[in-house]
Amino acid sequence: MLQREERPADKAKVLRMANATTNKPRPKYLSLQAILLEIRLPLAGWVSILHRVSGVLLFASGVWLLFMLDRSLSSPAGFDAVLRYIGFPLVKLSLLVLVWAYCHHLCAGIRFLLLDLHKGIDKASARRSSILVLSVSLLLTAFFGAKLW
């Protein structure tokens, strides 16, 4: 466990700052309208929230993916049934969304690991890597989507 040395002077300063921030009246833009229309996320913010959304999507669809893996490995007939099943447009579209979710989650995850290592943390390169994550995950989705079709 890391421990930081605490000095009384610092402590008093921190307390003063905490009081100053809690006493200030703060506007809260948390209405649905604000979330949808008024808050404008920077690109890194989009990468971050989409990382979260894609993670939830993947977690929730685990049962569906396991079901298909189970059937496809059970027998040649089961394998063919799964092939026919993923031929349905709605199923295919859902799979494509999951492929995107996986690619985005992976690319954004690599970006976060690099940020943890203090690589690319200045504003310009953080923006560049956000663009890279968003576009590479879309390109990978297009690639695997084409394979899927």
């Binding site: 993947l58 685990g62 396991l66 490995l73 995850g109 690599i110 394979k147």
Partner: protein, 114 residues
Amino acid sequence: MVNRIVVGAHYGLRDWLAQRITGLVMAVYSVILAVVLLSGQPISHAVWSDLFSQGWMRVATLLFAASLAWHAWVGVRDILMDYVKPTGLRLSLQVLVLMVIAGYLAWTIQILWR
């Protein structure tokens, strides 16, 4: 001493680090699987079930599933801590998530060693 909350995080590096290491394990597995599937023959049932009947693939997939379980637990727990404030509801959802993850893991093992 910090004021500990029973349904909070575990106030340490462990889960944070585990999420990153498991993420790395899954990234490596994903690349290997993609290469194996893209470089081999077109996927038929024979190719597909041969792949999953090999020992290394079963163990690698189990490592992937175990990493996924831990990774997903930390991630979903973080999300629940951010958005679900009532303690009882949060605890219930966390228990539910843990059971779902345990179920996923058990099913994966059953599929792999059938």
